[in-house]
Subunit: 436 residues, 2 copies
């Protein structure tokens, strides 16, 4: 049986998870694939750094260049993360003609095209299934399973931390700050939590999905991104009364197709119908709802991160690379095919959405009329208004649900409304995604 | 650009769907894959048979041998269905060394190993993504995305007709017979409906999933199969009160692992927790819940059948085959790898389940005690008993929920209980799958 030799850079949580999974199922993989897969060297920060699973001492080195430069290593797994030294490592491995498997969404998001060019130049391949929704084979499915489809819409719950917080807020009627603090204590959220809860992590992943689905590399600066800090217990309750659940979504919608496709790419918390299968994705689980023009509506659900789910994805990439090496080919499915070079991300200002808006207003007659007049002048149709009972004090909530209107129009109308003396706080606005 | 020439046998609903999807997205596929895909010949029953999408007249022939024998055709798509002439066609194409793409679950289920051997002999490949859950890339995911996993459990909603009927029964509080009749009128169920509602179609698909997951070909005769005829409106109601939903499941559970893995492979209607994401899969949608020992819990959801979802799957297989032909290889991922030759399907008698049992009994003191005594003698633990109020007449319902017990013990106990004079009808039993 032929043998593929692996090198790995990163021997912490995820790295030891990959090594553990390979120890458990490596022989099974070889039987399934007809090619043996062996670890040859693993570069770690320190031999004794804390890790959930042990790594064989004789494989370890603290010098990553030993991994990249070992001529017997065919394939390098990069699990260092971030855009600093990890970029140097990946480029060094690619320059040697070694295929690279990475879970590094930040690196791909910031430097995708540069990495793909480096891989093409040396004839190596670059795999990144683990970079988006760890355990879910969404990259492979978009690229291979749905290769005969265009993608009118993709909605992803791609950040486990945010989904954990929003799920608990909904089910416990708890406040954002309290749940975040507890999530940090339990290890479900980082300190500081910004990368997750401000939507940056979701932005990286959504950009990768958008790029693969639409055939041009999406610059992450063009992705309108809002996090979940503004979601309150109150909004969760009102959303529930409206039959909706609030989820942080990565959204990729086809605005126009053809040779110069235009797409919306955004990350924001949105109200979705509670009876939709996407609304039942709770806790740290991830899910991606993919609408294909041929296949129809589909959903992929699974663990989005963590050492084991990520290990499963990393090893699936290793398997694909191993099959290619076995067959003497290297780029059967290249890392990225730019087949729509004229594709464009549309500014959210030009995209029409439906909206949920919550105002805090003084409880006096005439306030609703004034707000409604500003919406009318902006040509924003109102679907319903709720003035919930049982709220007392200086200000009371007033909720509007709108029809579809351009985001620019809504932004301007809200700025005007915010200046009304009767409006006591910054209006809270979330978009509504019917998923229809 | 290289070109792969397709021949297709079958130009009805699904065949015209494949042709239509190719006309729409064939150029996009070529751009994504770097290889052109062209239809060269399509064998149809009759030029003018009714079909939802048109097929170009100049491609059509009524002689399937023209497709198989055309030396310019690299790949044959078989969409005839069934185990008769379709088998001859597939074997003829494979014998010519042509790769075959099929959606024919019945043929695979009955003759898988014979087809795989024929493919191996001529060095051709055989693809069948469309045979299980049309639009869901579950074959590719099990084989490639989850290649680093063992599979402790797989639960599939794999028959759209049954799921449609059960969903409507639940949501409308309607009876089986009425919903079936309406489903037939609307084209969601065939006449006669036996292949679907007696579980045979689910059996074919479940056997294919079990075989791929566990590395030995499962003989469909060994799959314990029950359909949904016994599910009544009453059971739906009681299940709901117990927090459960009744779904027809294809079940594959690892009983023991290693070189001689033992697995349970069954098809039966089961109670599952209503809050589980699998319970929210409604209408004709399919879903497969896959538990991997590395990846954890995942779920795939999508359209299970129909011309378009099936076309998406057929064309994904065509794309895989085209990439291999482009690279000069033919069996990069062979149709089946028998890596666990000593695998065995365990008789359901030896499998332990939890049970929901509904008796129709005369409303007299002492009946419950008699039934409980028989369960006790069979060492079947009772988790709860419900005697619902508001039922009058000759007989009243009495519901037991049991702890885990072997199926043989339950079968024998029920046979004894059925003979009690106070028990007025055949006991109704469904298994409970906690999905934990």
């Amino acid at each position: 049986m032929q043998q593929v030799n692996l090198g790995m850079i990163g021997g912490g949580t995820v790295g030891s998870g990959v090594f553990h999974a390979w120890k458990k199922n490596g022989a099974l993989m070889a039987a399934r694939l007809g090619v043996a897969i062996k670890f040859r060297k693993i570069a770690v920060k320190a031999f004794d750094e804390p890790r959930p699973y042990p790594i064989s001492r004789e494989l370890m080195t603290t010098d990553w260049q030993e991994v990249v430069n070992d001529p017997a290593i065919h394939l390098v797994i990069e699990l260092v993360g971030g855009c600093g030294i990890a970029k140097t490592m990946v480029l060094a491995a690619l320059a040697q003609g070694k295929t690279v498997v990475t879970a590094n969404k930040a690196l791909l998001s910031a430097h995708g095209p540069e990495l793909f060019a480096a891989a093409a130049k040396s004839g190596a391949n670059l795999y990144y299934e683990a970079s988006v929704c760890g355990g879910i084979p969404i990259i492979k499915s978009l690229r291979e399973g749905f290769v005969a489809n265009q993608f009118p819409a993709i909605y992803g719950i791609v950040n486990g931390t945010c989904n954990y917080i929003l799920s608990r807020m909904k089910h416990e009627g708890a406040d954002f700050a309290a749940v975040l603090a507890d999530a940090q204590k339990q290890g479900y959220a980082e300190t500081p939590p910004d990368l997750d809860i401000d939507g940056h992590d979701a932005q990286h992943k959504t950009g990768i999905l958008a790029s693969l689905a639409h055939g041009f590399w999406v610059d992450h600066h063009e992705i309108h991104t809002e996090g979940i800090r503004d979601v309150s217990k109150l909004d969760m309750e009102f959303a529930a009364k409206l039959g909706c659940t609030i989820k942080l979504l990565g959204i990729v919608k086809q605005v126009s197709s053809g040779h110069s496709p235009q797409i919306q790419v955004s990350v924001y918390p949105a109200l979705i119908p509670s009876e939709h299968v996407l609304a039942s994705v709770n806790q740290v689980f991830n899910a991606v709802f993919v609408r294909g023009d041929v296949v129809g509506d589909t959903l992929f659900y699974g663990g989005g991160a963590g050492k084991d789910a990520t290990a499963s994805a990393v090893l699936s990439d290793v398997a694909d690379a191993a099959l290619d090496l076995k067959n003497g080919i290297k780029r059967r499915v290249p890392p990225f095919v730019a087949c729509a070079k004229k594709g464009k991300v549309v500014s959210l200002d030009h995209v029409a959405s439906q909206y949920y808006i919550r105002f805090s207003v003084v409880d006096k007659p005439g306030v609703l009329a004034k707000i409604a007049a500003i919406f009318a002048a902006a040509k924003i149709g109102i679907a319903s208004v709720i003035q919930p009972e049982g709220h007392e004090g200086e200000s009371v909530p007033l909720i509007f649900m709108s029809h579809e209107a351009p985001n620019a129009a809504m932004r301007k109308a809200l700025a005007k409304i915010a200046k009304l003396p009767a409006v006591k706080a910054r209006p809270v606005m979330f978009r509504v995604e019917s998923l229809q």
